[in-house]
């Protein structure tokens, strides 16, 4: 296993205002077939009031990352290394008890499927008050008042009556709203939304994204939005991490990613989706092949078995050498998350490919 040097070193003190800082995070699961390297060397940071998008295919390590931040791997067999700084607290080294005090209070999560993440046996109101009462010593009636307030805030009509409803009495969009109310009941400073709109219709998705933006303005929270939909990223995020095979292959602001993308995988993603906002193309350009196995991660660049731009690199470098995540010339325009790319192709060459071959065909 090659140990890659830390890409951005960021000390927790004297920081540039990052609220969450993830440094060289690795999450490995030992299994009977070998070690699954679900996340392998990931670094990013995000400040309050900002939204960071994490994009990638299924199995690229997006959700495992969010679970690691919330400490949900504690007590499992996962081997975690690296650092996660939330404000001035380091999360990887914390005990399960300590992190439980933060979870729900300082940081909260919205899951993809609101039907399976709400308990069918308890009323929606009870589930929201439970989260509130764990972290605040208040009585039942005060908690109820707070929960009704939250339901109202997320736009559920008749919150006073709906408080006593069970999840099955809510529609999909309303369940997701209730999940958001539950996540925000303690005013968390960090909100992780794992595919919050994937199971919803576009019209409801638009409502939920709008709601998340409003609430972010109100609470000034940092949001990590995990999604596979680049449209959602363009709409809701400030900066982006593109993940592939457990590794971060490109980071930057939304402008970097959508107007100056430099990693062949990002090009592939942009090229393979049909777009409503451009002239219709005769053919889509899929990325050939399948996502890699995380047990036998390809040698060299993790994307090399599917990459069609290897002839721009001299020799067998793509298959032998693991490229580092390096800052581009555009560099640090975007504030906290600079434009960084993990690719062997020379930067000038990548820029040329983007402007001449990729950008015009999108």
């Amino acid at each position: 296993m090659t140990v890659e040097p830390r890409d951005i070193t960021r000390s927790p003190s004297g920081d540039t205002g990052a609220y969450l800082s993830v440094n060289d995070l690795r999450v490995h699961f030992p299994t009977g077939d070998g070690i699954v390297k679900a996340v392998d060397g990931l670094s990013f940071s995000i400040s309050r009031g900002q939204t960071l998008g994490i994009v990638g295919e299924s199995g690229s390590g997006k959700s495992v990352t969010s679970q690691a931040i919330l400490g949900l791997h504690k007590g499992s067999k996962a081997r975690i290394s690296g650092e996660i700084w939330l404000g001035d607290q380091e999360l990887v080294g914390m005990t399960e008890e300590e992190i439980r005090g933060l979870r729900g209070d300082q940081m909260a999560m919205i899951f993809q499927d609101p039907l399976s993440s709400l308990h069918p046996f308890y009323t929606v109101g009870r589930q929201i008050t439970e989260a509130y009462r764990v972290h605040n010593s208040v009585g039942k009636s005060a908690a109820r008042k707070r929960a009704v307030e939250m339901l109202d805030l997320v736009g559920i009509p008749n919150p006073d009556k709906r408080f006593d409803d069970y999840p099955h009495q809510f529609s999909g969009g309303m369940r997701q709203r209730a999940m958001i109310a539950m996540a925000l009941v303690c005013d968390p400073k960090l909100l992780i939304a794992d595919e919050p709109t994937t199971a919803l219709d576009v019209t409801v998705q638009a409502q939920i994204l709008e709601l998340m933006k409003e609430l972010q303005r109100e609470f000034n929270s940092a949001i990590i939005l995990i999604t596979h939909d680049l449209g959602v990223v363009a709409e809701a995020c400030d900066s982006v991490v593109v993940m592939y095979g457990g590794q971060c292959v490109e980071t930057g602001t939304v402008n970097d990613i959508f107007y100056h993308a430099q990693m062949p995988y990002t090009w592939g993603l942009l090229g393979s989706m049909p777009r409503m906002d451009r002239d219709r193309r005769e053919r889509l350009q899929p990325i050939p092949g399948q996502p890699p196995s995380l047990i036998q991660v390809p040698k060299g660049c993790v994307f090399n078995p599917r990459c069609v731009y290897q002839d721009h690199v001299p020799g067998d470098l793509c298959k032998t050498d693991h490229p580092q995540l390096l800052m581009t010339q555009r560099g640090n325009e975007g504030g906290l998350l600079p434009h960084q790319v993990r690719c062997h192709i020379r930067e000038s060459e990548r820029e040329r490919i983007w402007t001449e071959q990729i950008s015009p065909t999108l």
Binding site: V202, Q207, M276
Partner: protein, 363 residues
């Protein structure tokens, strides 16, 4: 149910060459109550008077929110569920009343691809058995012939023919969808209903499967009914698109017209809700937010079913105009050559998609 009667006169496309002509079909699922004698107390009006036609080799997209009845239309067309009312003509023949047994020979011509490749393949059957099943059931090939045929099919859809004896769990989601596609095209059907065939797949794999579907269409002259909620994919693959809401077609027209000059307020809000992968454009677009949830199909709103959530109804119409929306069911009729919409006050809007080809309208 007197108010549903006049919807039966909706104009269908009268197309003599149509491969499939569906006229005023309804599917009402009964809700029964009672201890000993089950009485029907109400009905879920999943599909409530839908008419369209489809030519050979053509793709019709069906879009709408979940619960709008688009999948039920697909199942009624394939006769997996029996329609409550209406007629289905396939290849010049009325198939509405055909029994299961009489339907069987027709299954060669009408096939379906399901959404979830995990639950639509029997986990205890090998790929060879799954893809070979259509041949065995129809009795068209000897058992030796089946194997060669299945292997050439597997190769055609991009699977390794040597994996003939593998089980579904050994394949990834994209590969499983290819297996489902191989099974559907096995008997060289004329029509395939694709029920959200790429929704469960990653974007890069989705593009592979969409391209495969297009290649197969060109090669075998297939007609598709493409049911999906992703408007971008539907635009890519369809020749014509029907937008559905609460069991009815709201707008039905060719792809380019629908995506550049939609006239129905529901189409407007649906299109404006799709985020486009371009941050600058995304900031400039106006989003027409719908309020509330889809009304219950058990007790749909009177008049125009969309009036309870219609932004135009809420903000622009006068009281007398509103009365018409509440009282009178709008028929799906031609608003412009080739463009049908079910709205009393349609309005052309070119700004909701903000495509480049929309900036300078043709007219």
């Amino acid at each position: 149910m007197t108010d549903t009667d006049h919807t039966a006169f909706e104009p269908a496309d009268d197309d003599a060459d149509a491969l499939l002509a569906v006229r005023a079909i309804k599917k009402h699922f009964p809700i029964k109550q009672g201890l000993f004698i089950q009485r029907q107390v109400a009905a879920v009006k999943a599909v409530d008077g839908v008419s369209f036609s489809l030519r050979a080799g053509e793709t019709l997209g069906l879009v709408g929110e979940s619960g709008c009845g688009k999948s039920t239309v697909g199942r009624v067309v394939t006769k997996l569920v029996e329609p409550t009312a209406g007629t289905i003509r396939f290849d010049g023949r009325d198939v509405t009343k055909l029994s299961r047994g009489n339907m069987r020979p027709l299954r060669r011509d009408i096939q379906i691809i399901f959404q979830d490749p995990y639950s639509s393949l029997n986990p205890r059957h090998t790929i060879g058995t799954i893809v070979g099943a259509p041949f065995r059931i129809q009795g068209t090939k000897t058992s030796k012939g089946i194997k060669t045929e299945v292997q050439s099919l597997m190769e055609r859809v991009g699977l390794n023919p040597e994996h003939y004896n593998r089980y579904p769990h050994e394949f990834s989601g994209g590969q499983r969808q290819r297996i489902g596609i191989a099974r559907a095209v096995a008997l060289r059907p004329k029509l395939i209903v694709c029920d959200e065939p790429v929704s469960a797949l990653d974007v890069s794999i989705q593009a592979q499967v969409v391209n495969l579907l297009e290649d197969l269409q060109a090669e075998f002259g297939l007609a598709y009914i493409f049911v999906a909620h992703d408007l971008s994919v539907v635009r890519h693959i369809s020749n014509r698109v029907a937008v559905m809401y609460l069991g009815k077609i709201m707008e039905l027209t060719d792809r380019d017209t629908l995506y550049s000059r939609p006239v129905h307020p529901y189409t407007h809000s649906l299109m404006s809700a799709v985020p486009v992968p371009d941050p600058l454009k995304e900031n400039r677009r106006e989003r027409i937010l719908l309020t509330g949830d889809l009304p219950s199909p058990i007790n749909p709103p009177s008049g125009c079913v969309f009036h309870t959530r219609c932004p135009k109804f809420r903000m622009q119409l006068s009281d007398s105009e509103k009365e018409r929306c509440v009282a009178e069911v709008p028929l799906l009729e031609l608003k412009r050559p080739g463009q049908q919409a079910a709205c009393h006050y349609p309005e052309e809007r070119a700004d909701v998609v903000l495509a480049e080809d929309v900036v300078a309208p043709a007219t």
